[in-house]
């Protein structure tokens, strides 16, 4: 009752750890069998090795957290030679999160990483708010987002999902642009740009000054955006932003997501993904749903079929 089919991905269940919140799976593999997961979104990979931003890189906020990791990663070569092969022992598809400073970087990483045996899809990160070049700059203009998408689509051996930034006036426009440019799916949302100041010094708590807000605090914004985008495009949406429970999963799927990713909650409870997967069948039963795919878009399908009436 939990399996979901998406371009390039046959998921046992719709639960995917979100990129950057699960490293390359190594640490969590010590805690549970990664084969239980629907898929794994690995940490953003760039062509070169990146150290990222200075610390402090995280700060807590009411119901959420800010991060400014700055895409630290071991670089394409090492991801291909060490991280991905290590994940081959698990029966789980990998979605590779691809980042860069220029279109050429994305193309290089996408082309090479998409040919790795266990990479079943790419997630184009055009929404990282914590790097000076690239990242969010590609995700706030529909035109640039479209261009990058079609360039990457040409070289990728697997379907591509584009990860959208919530820091935009009209997210549906960006979604339509990447769909038109050949995206096979959309993942959303990346973090909201935020900031905290130290009361004693007056200066930002994060060394990078601003950071990306994630966690339960952003859930209402994420749900609203998934609701808008899933109605604006015909490609599937993988929803995320503050998911902590099986109920939250339902809310995102009602909004229009076909699967979901769990980010920050992995820090709060490292067992959260398998726990949600175990809980989901009971939650579906509680709400009278026989298969998870019935949930998808229920919030707006409802309007199209006035047969169901508001109780």
């Amino acid at each position: 009752m939990l399996n979901v089919s998406l371009p390039g991905l046959e998921l046992k269940n719709p639960i995917i750890p979100a990129s950057g919140c699960f490293g390359f799976g190594k640490e969590f593999a010590q805690l549970y069998d990664l084969s239980k997961l629907g898929a794994i979104m690995i940490k953003a990979t760039t062509a070169e090795v990146r150290f990222g931003n200075p610390t402090p890189r995280v700060a807590e906020t009411p119901g959420g957290m800010l991060n400014a990791i700055g895409l630290q990663n071991p670089g394409l070569e090492k991801v291909l030679s060490e991280e991905l092969p290590r994940l081959e022992q698990y029966d789980v598809p990998v979605i590779a999160n691809v980042a860069g400073s220029a279109i050429e970087d994305y193309i290089e990483v996408a082309e090479k990483i998409s040919s790795a045996q266990n990479v079943h899809a790419l997630e184009l990160n055009i929404s990282c708010p914590n790097v000076k070049t690239g990242g969010i700059a590609f995700g706030t203009s529909a035109e640039t987002a479209g261009k990058l998408t079609s360039a990457v689509k040409k070289v990728s051996s697997v379907p591509i999902y584009v990860k959208l930034s919530p820091n935009v006036t009209n997210i549906a426009d960006i979604a339509r642009a990447v769909e038109a440019a050949g995206a096979d799916g959309i993942t959303m949302i990346n973090t909201l740009l935020g900031m905290r100041l130290d009361l004693k010094t007056g200066i930002p708590v994060l060394a990078n000054k601003t950071g990306g807000l994630s966690g339960p605090a952003v859930k209402p914004v994420a749900v609203r955006m998934v609701y808008e985008v899933s109605q604006a495009v015909d490609i599937p949406v993988i929803g995320m932003g503050g998911i902590q429970s099986a109920e939250d999963v339902l809310e995102f799927m009602y909004a229009g997501a076909s699967a979901v990713a769990v980010g920050t909650a992995n820090f709060v409870n490292p067992y959260i993904c398998p726990e949600i997967i175990e809980e989901l069948p009971h939650t579906l039963k509680k709400y009278g749903i026989s298969h998870i795919t019935e949930c998808v878009g229920r919030s707006w399908k409802h309007e199209q079929k006035p047969a169901y009436s508001r109780p």
Partner: protein
Amino acid sequence: MKKELMEVQRQEQLAESIFRLELSGTLVRQMQKPGQFVHVKTGGAYAPLLRRPISIAEIDNEKDTFTMIYRAEGEGTLQLSGLRKGDQVDVLGPLGNGFDPDAEIPGTTALLAGGGIGVPPLYELSKRLKNHGVNVIHVLGFQNERNVFYHNEFAALGETYVATVDGSYGEKGFVTDVIKNNNLVFNSVFAVGPNVMLKAMENSFPDNRMFLSLEERMGCGIGACFACVCKTAEGSYKKICVDGPVFQAGEVLIPC
């Protein structure tokens, strides 16, 4: 590493804002080394959201209990200080590498330097060093007399100096001042405290065998999020939560 709902056995206040909390559970059986820490979740589902890293101050393997000593200051630690005997608290641990007292040579002298809430992990370390036949000297630094804790407990294990910034208790000054003023002689150094103190220790005693325990803001606490990195001298990096929090002096660049 394990996540467990541990039970509060005892909570007591030691000094201004300083509390001592004793927890029981089978997770204690995995605790191997002083200097390791636990990651504690207080409150409800999302307030506060993140876990709090707190050092293991004492391990009692017979009773399956361990102790932490913490300063109740922010939202999470204030909630922690509200726990009473019988309450449950969500603990992930033990985390990090810890100190290795058995690597010291019996008969040598170790200097244990702690600043503020860096003092607690030195207690279990001191007991183990002593057990192992190493002489221990403690230099503990606090802001002022209202914050001082565990003076007697450390004194029972070995020579103990206390420094306060304002001189209201013990000697006036920083731990490095006290070490110099008393012409302390030692073979190895174990230091826990704010980065400025660790840096001062590194600079003041460049020739000593020295182990430092670092603090950094953490996300996951298990090595997955890259929140807690610090640079190494060779331009690479280490994660404080898994590669540390204990490093040999010079192994990493102390940010401050």
